[in-house]
Symmetry: C2
Subunit: 221 residues, 2 copies
DNA sequence: AAACACATGTGAGATTTCTCATATTATTTA
DNA sequence: TAAATAATATGAGAAATCTCACATGTGTTT
């Protein structure tokens, strides 16, 4: 984690990401820039955050752990996104865990100092409203989705979305959690893909050998 | 469906439900009161609604139908709740279907006439923000939940939540959809509950005979 | 280098859940 | 009132997914 407080530098980032546009008052006095490395904890589950983060670069992982110890990845969020906006708006909300998946750049806003102003700012509120609606829409989509199709369909789609140059190299443990199936089962389906000549194991991960077939699987008529 | 436009009556309902409190301008000129009967369609899927509804009494069902014809119940919403707030806030959002499950009373707001004012009203926006956050929190909860436990656990919990005076009488077809399992499987689990002496079939529905056992099943340590 | 944590793989067998078929009863609709 | 529609109910067999057990590799920590 690297914190940048230097006023000029902070202003530079604010400009670059048009962050001021979301507010009707000057946000710079309450803002610092923070960079996270992959794996850094941004927010601990069940701890009320003291800051509102706006991730302008990178990817984060949202998860929560149930009392039985099982953790569920709620979502992978790509920049731009907020962290802690729920807690700002609703007193008794349940805080989820957040970690950086890749290097992240963010604005960190001190809500102790400007929380009240934020809650009264129509520009900010409208932005957050929209953001929330989009988030929950995507979620619902994903939800029906997950229940609707067996893993091979969802996994095929996931592989297509998360491969570059025909190479898929996500961590199976994480993906199994995200897709809501056991690690074992994911591996079954994976090896089935290999058996069917759709994927091929390579040094750098799994190579997509038959994209057409993968797309056919992924398309959920 | 019954529409009430009489100004005095509308004002009466507005007062009763403190609806004006959510706005910083006078909402009454844009509002009528509408009652829905069980089964009425409030909003058709994929059709952009022209009104924002605030349900002050009753229960509605939110669902969407996928291209393959399968419908998914997203949620049962109990009053008070909004319908159409997503569409007001986000241009290109995907409209879900909404039907009344029980008799509903609602305020119907003409967003063609006051949409812009709503989008600039911090009181309204803050309320909606909170509402959205709570909604999506509940979703997330439900989501991890659904994936985490086999049906008998989720169903046990559902029965406990949806019974009165030890009588459970929801429609199995609806519930199966909501819990995201096949009708057949729900019936299997149901009859298992009966076999184990937890439930008992009665005239008016199913009677809870062994609440302790049901609670034990429902609790997901 | 030993010990450890953790991701990757594979096997066997059990459980959960699904699809399809088929009857029987309401409830709606023509 | 007859016909159509939808909910309830049950059976058989298959597919999807899970748990547990275990082996291997790789990178960290001590």
């Amino acid at each position: 984690m690297r914190i940048i407080k230097d006023e000029k530098t902070v202003r530079g980032y604010l400009e670059k990401h048009s962050f001021q546009d979301i507010f009707s008052f000057d946000i710079s006095p309450y803002t610092t820039v923070v960079f996270f490395d992959a794996g850094d904890e941004i927010c601990r589950q069940d701890e009320r955050p003291e800051y509102l983060y706006y991730i302008f670069d990178g990817t984060i992982k949202l998860f929560f752990t149930q009392r039985n110890g099982k953790t569920y990845i709620i979502d992978f969020l790509k920049a731009p996104c907020f962290i802690g906006e729920a807690e700002l708006l609703v007193e008794n909300t349940y805080t989820r865990g957040v970690t950086a998946l890749a290097k992240c750049g963010s604005f960190k806003i001190d809500i102790k100092k400007c929380g009240q102003m934020l809650l009264e700012d129509p520009v900010f509120l409208r932005y957050i409203c929209r953001y929330q609606v989009e988030k929950s829409t995507r979620f619902t989509q994903n939800y029906g989705h997950n229940k609707a199709y067996p893993l091979k369909v969802r996994f095929a789609e996931f592989i297509l979305m998360n491969s570059r140059n025909d190479i898929y190299r996500e961590q199976h443990t994480e993906v199994a959690e995200f897709l809501g199936v056991s690690y074992r089962h994911l591996l079954y389906v994976l090896s089935d893909f290999v058996d069917r000549g759709i994927l091929e194991k390579a040094e750098e991960g799994y190579r997509i050998k038959n994209r057409r077939e993968l797309e056919k699987l992924a398309q959920k008529d």
